[in-house]
Symmetry: C2
Subunit: 119 residues, 2 copies
């Protein structure tokens, strides 16, 4: 079974999670049979590890991690692979895949440009 994790940076304020929850709700609406979790690098709960564990407990064997980052920097190129390396040791029955950062996607770039012009 497939599962999706929206991987974000995290921040100190509680409202920070709201956009991630909105993405999660839309993804769940588009693919009701695919469990989708949110996991953060730091500061905001839950951490990525907990989201992986949550999917593992639901029987997920393929996890697609979607970096909710504008561009691949240290967090995506170094921190995320390290976290996934540990997860692979812990959950040898799960295959992990990392999608492109959302900020590298044409439709997202277009929507951001539209916002910059419109507001």
């Amino acid at each position: 079974m497939k599962g999706i994790i929206l991987f974000g940076h995290g921040a100190r304020n509680a409202e920070y999670i709201q956009p991630f929850k909105r993405i999660q709700a839309l993804v769940a609406a588009k693919q009701p049979d695919v469990p989708v979790e949110i996991g953060f690098l730091e500061l905001t709960q839950p951490p990525l590890e907990a989201s992986i564990e949550c999917l593992a407990q639901r029987g997920v064997t393929q996890v697609k991690v979607v970096p909710i980052f504008f561009a691949p920097g240290r967090h995506v190129l170094k921190d995320l692979p390290e976290l996934l390396s540990n997860a692979m040791d812990r959950f040898p029955g799960i295959d992990f895949e990392v999608a492109a950062c959302v900020g590298e996607v044409d439709a997202v770039i277009e929507a951001m440009a539209g916002h910059a012009v419109a507001t």
Copy 2:
């Protein structure tokens, strides 16, 4: 004259700026008469202050700062207002406006959800 600044966090790797340049190019294509600059909080050049100065030198009197952030955290709620407060002292002839974070915008949320599902 109006101007736009795409305000990003910044990162250590040079490729990080690419998505910002793509947004900038699209905005410039949509509004050729409105100068649009990129400015970062840290690590990536140019800093926000330099972008504001660039627009000031071009005669811009209204600057719209668009936070290329997923959600308002400390950088948008604390660091950005401090930077703009300093800029207002330095450039009293410029009006500053801060748009919503791109991650709070329906079309951006929808595009990110589409990426999570599609890839």
